[in-house]
């Protein structure tokens, strides 16, 4: 196989097969049709389509932002063409049930598939991935009729979906949304309001767009307890499934973004009377499940979505790293410290230790991030299909606590890898002649959307590690201990000991934080907590990887071992000062008066 600059198939194979042993999932009834052969074939297919149809227009779509002509969104034609190939190959249906046209692919394999597309072209791949998230939510919470109406066309890639939560004034705090949904005599609702930042909110790529919209039904409880979830299709759907009347949801404007430019990002107006379905204004919406439970339904799908965002951040970091590595092997500049003879030919920059430092750091971030994302996806499979109820419960708890990390850690460190990739390119990295600046711009979104970095910190420290009387943190500590125990007697006993000590510190610091007696103090430095916990978790997964590589020889495995050592010696030492700061219940930031700035 040709080595690709999009993603490393070798690493993916190692993680999926040698480490996570995904083939064993085929023993479970849901995945009985799958085998090593089909899994490999699906990943072959994904990687080929990603490399041949998505990567080539990544730059073009970035340079030609979506724009509006006569009320219609214009995109470069390559986007539609690539999405057609994607849909024709059946990739839109991945993990769905067979009866809905799906392939019942394990989550971990489906995520490996999506990572290829995210690495090749994050902008174009957002359309199908939002659509899949939308379909999964419907399958979990909508009525059978709603599922039958909306999911199969999405699984076939004919209709696309969106997630419409945010509003201009309400992003992190969805309690403050103001979009209203009023019940009609026929049981449908009419929506009025404005949604901001809606990715894929309008375009001509699909026959229909199915918006999943959060709105409030008047008279309901205040705050998040009064939020309901609605299906609002761009075009109403006739009983026979055909496209009907135009619904009253319209594009109010496109946002012009730093990256992810191939994905249209929209301000949408609902119920402004631009269209009058049934003869009157108001966007027709159909309630999903029960009133006032909308946010619960949304959050149910949050783990998967957040793992997906984390993997997207890893994917961008990964492709940046591979480009930097390729550049460093071919770009010549300067001579070794010990051989300054000007007559000697200059060396490839990878020969300089400082360049290798950046590359090795990046390798440890992106391979660590990929391990983290796939591990979490594997947990989703455990949560859904493990035979034993106790195993499912354990997977669920571990997933809950790992999700904020799986979202935020790669968003932070994948971006650092993109930063290093620019640095390795020197001046060329700062130009638009090389793709690394785009990867950086694209990846800069990931700490912002799907719950900002700050919100993930609050989620981890404020909710996840204390839920169930601290069950989340306990399960995590047990999982880490199970790995460190296996490391006894290997070359990795010292890394295991470091991890044991850091985990014990993390548990102790968590208790100290929660004994502060003032939640403001407890949560003031939650982002630091998130980052410290993230490094411990990824350190643990590096130990997992090198244990899986025990006894294997060759460059690939030696590279894994050196990256694990790098993480142990350079990265884990960052954690202790962070934990010390947290343990001191430092209030420097909290007590900074807003007037003092």
């Amino acid at each position: 196989m040709r080595a690709s600059l999009v993603l490393s198939r070798r690493d993916l194979d190692f993680l999926l097969h040698e480490w996570l042993e995904v083939e064993t999932l085929a023993k479970r009834p849901r995945f009985a049709e799958h085998s090593r052969e089909t899994i490999d074939a699906v990943i072959d297919l994904a990687s080929r389509i990603a490399v041949e149809h998505f990567a080539p227009h990544n730059r073009t779509a970035d340079e030609h932002e979506p724009h509006v002509v006569d009320g219609r969104v214009q995109l470069v034609p390559e986007v539609a063409a690539a999405l057609r190939v994607f849909a024709d190959a059946g990739l839109a249906a991945g993990t769905l049930d067979e009866e809905l046209g799906g392939m019942q692919l394990p989550q971990v394999v489906a995520k490996a598939v999506t990572t290829w597309f995210q690495a090749a072209n994050i902008g174009s791949s957002a359309y199908p991935f939002l659509t899949m998230a939308n379909a999964h939510l419907l399958v979990a919470h909508a009525s059978p009729e709603q599922v039958q109406t909306y999911v199969p066309p999405m699984a076939e890639g004919r209709w696309f979906g969106t997630m419409a939560l945010s509003e201009p004034q309400a992003g992190s705090s969805l309690a403050d949304i103001t979009t209203r949904a009023e019940l009609q005599d026929d049981g449908t609702y009419r929506l009025t309001g404005t949604k901001m930042w809606i990715s894929g909110g309008d375009h001509e790529l699909s026959e229909n767009i199915v918006h999943l919209v959060l709105a409030k039904v008047p008279g309901g409880p205040a705050g998040v307890k009064g939020i309901s979830l609605f299906i609002v299709p761009k075009h109403l759907v006739a009983d026979d499934g055909s496209i009907g009347e135009r619904n009253d949801v319209v594009l109010a404007g496109l946002n012009h973004k730093m990256g992810y430019r191939g994905t249209t990002n929209t301000l949408l107006a609902f119920g402004e009377g631009v269209h009058t379905p049934g003869g009157r204004p108001g966007a027709v919406g159909y309630l999903v499940g029960e009133q006032h439970r909308g946010l619960t339904y949304m959050f149910h799908m949050m783990n998967e979505a957040r793992i997906g965002v984390g993997l997207g951040a890893t994917a961008l970091g990964y492709t940046g790293y591979l480009h930097a590595l390729d550049y460093a092997r071919t770009r010549t500049q300067g001579r070794p410290v010990t051989g300054k003879d000007p007559a000697a030919a200059p060396v490839a920059i990878i020969e300089h230790a400082d360049v290798r430092r950046m590359l090795l750091a990046s390798k440890s971030y992106v391979e660590g991030g990929l391990a983290l994302g796939l591990y979490c996806a594997r947990l989703v499979d455990e949560e859904q299909t493990a035979e034993d109820a106790a195993d499912r419960e354990r997977a669920h708890t571990l997933l809950e606590v790992l999700t904020p990390i799986a979202k935020s850690w790669p968003s932070q460190w994948g971006l650092v890898a993109n930063d290093h990739a620019i640095q390795v390119h020197g001046g060329y990295g700062y130009t638009r002649d090389f793709p690394v600046e785009q990867f950086y711009r694209d990846n800069r979104l990931n700490p912002i959307h799907e719950g900002t970095h700050g919100i993930q910190g609050l989620d981890l420290l404020g909710r996840k590690v204390v839920m169930g009387g601290g069950a989340g943190l306990r399960v995590l500590a047990e999982a880490i201990a199970a790995t460190t125990t296996r490391a006894a007697g290997t070359d990795w006993a010292d890394l295991a000991a470091d991890l044991d000590a850091l985990t014990a510190d993390l548990v102790r610091v968590t208790a100290t934080l929660w004994s502060a007696g003032d939640v403001d103090v407890t949560l003031a430095n939650a982002s630091v907590y998130l980052e410290a916990a993230g490094h411990v978790v990824v350190g643990w997964l590096w130990l997992e990887q090198v244990l899986a590589a025990e006894g294997s020889t060759g460059d690939f495995y030696d590279g894994k071992r050196q990256a694990a050592r790098y993480f142990q010696r350079w990265e884990l030492p960052r954690v202790r000062p962070q934990l010390a700061l947290l343990e001191s219940l430092d209030t420097t930031v909290l007590r900074m008066d807003t007037g003092w700035f």
Binding site: M1, S35, V42, L45, R48, I49, D88, A89, L91, M103
Partner: protein, 259 residues
């Protein structure tokens, strides 16, 4: 319409390829083996003909056990079944010997149309369809860039450097295809799952009635004596621009007979 597509597994032309130093045969065990790229066009054409005319597409491969990967790929693109001839005695066979094996396998199948790629990217001998035509006594239409079947007639546009020829013959016939003939489809998700259940019949030389002594390196009609890689690219020529850069460049190109 019964269509048989000849498919070969070859080392990926995009990664490093080697010959085995002990006998100068293609080192398959250590290579990244893929379906011969040219064969994908033949498979696509077979599927297109089947879609318009009905019938069945059978994949025929001669190769080691690992060649099942290439077979699965063809099946996941949409072929219906496969025959895999595998026998250690075949190792090192020349094109003439291999054609005897393929012809024997074809004789056990029903076929109206045999399709194959115009060449394989490993040996690049490009004589297989002609050899099979001779052995089977059927017409050979080579290098097709377009193919149509009407009743028992096959027509092709045969691509040449200067243009094309229109050829026609009766079926059964063997047609080799160029990469200009179509755009091969990707396997689909559904195709991948379905491929697992499609029949693959494995045959040995004994099953085909071929004498093992008649094939293999020992009795091959030709063998590779020596080989060398393309010499590495030399240093480029640097043209220093001292106000006369354009002239120097044109002079260089002219000297190389490039303009």
């Amino acid at each position: 319409m019964n269509i048989v597509v000849l498919v070969k597994q070859v080392p990926d032309s995009g990664s490093e390829r080697k010959l085995d130093s002990s006998d100068n045969t293609v080192a398959r065990a250590s290579a990244d083996n893929v379906i011969n790229e040219m064969d994908e066009y033949a498979i696509e054409e077979a599927l297109t003909v089947k879609e318009s005319q009905g019938g069945e597409v059978t994949v025929l491969t001669v190769g080691p056990g690992s060649a099942t990967d290439a077979i699965r790929k063809a099946l996941s693109m949409g072929a219906d079944k496969a025959v895999h001839v595998t026998d250690d005695a075949v190792h090192g066979s020349c094109a003439v010997q291999t054609s005897a094996v393929i012809a024997a396998a074809l004789q056990q199948l029903e076929y109206d149309l045999v399709l194959c790629g115009a060449e394989s990217t490993d040996g690049q001998v490009s004589v297989m369809p002609a050899l099979l035509s001779e052995r089977l006594g059927i017409p050979h239409l080579s290098g097709a860039r377009k193919l149509t079947v009407e009743g028992t007639t096959v027509r092709v546009e045969r691509q040449t450097d200067g243009g094309y020829w229109m050829l026609e013959s009766s079926l059964p016939a063997i047609v080799s295809t160029w990469d200009t003939i179509n755009e091969p489809r990707y396997p689909s998700f559904k195709g991948i799952m379905a491929a697992k259940k499609k029949p693959v019949e494995t045959k040995s030389l004994a099953d085909l009635g071929v004498d093992p002594a008649s094939v293999g390196l020992a009795t091959a009609t030709s063998r590779v004596l020596d080989f060398a890689g393309r010499p590495p690219k030399g240093e480029g020529v640097k043209v220093a621009d001292e106000g006369d850069g354009a002239e120097k460049l044109v002079g260089y190109l002219a000297a190389q007979k490039l303009v």
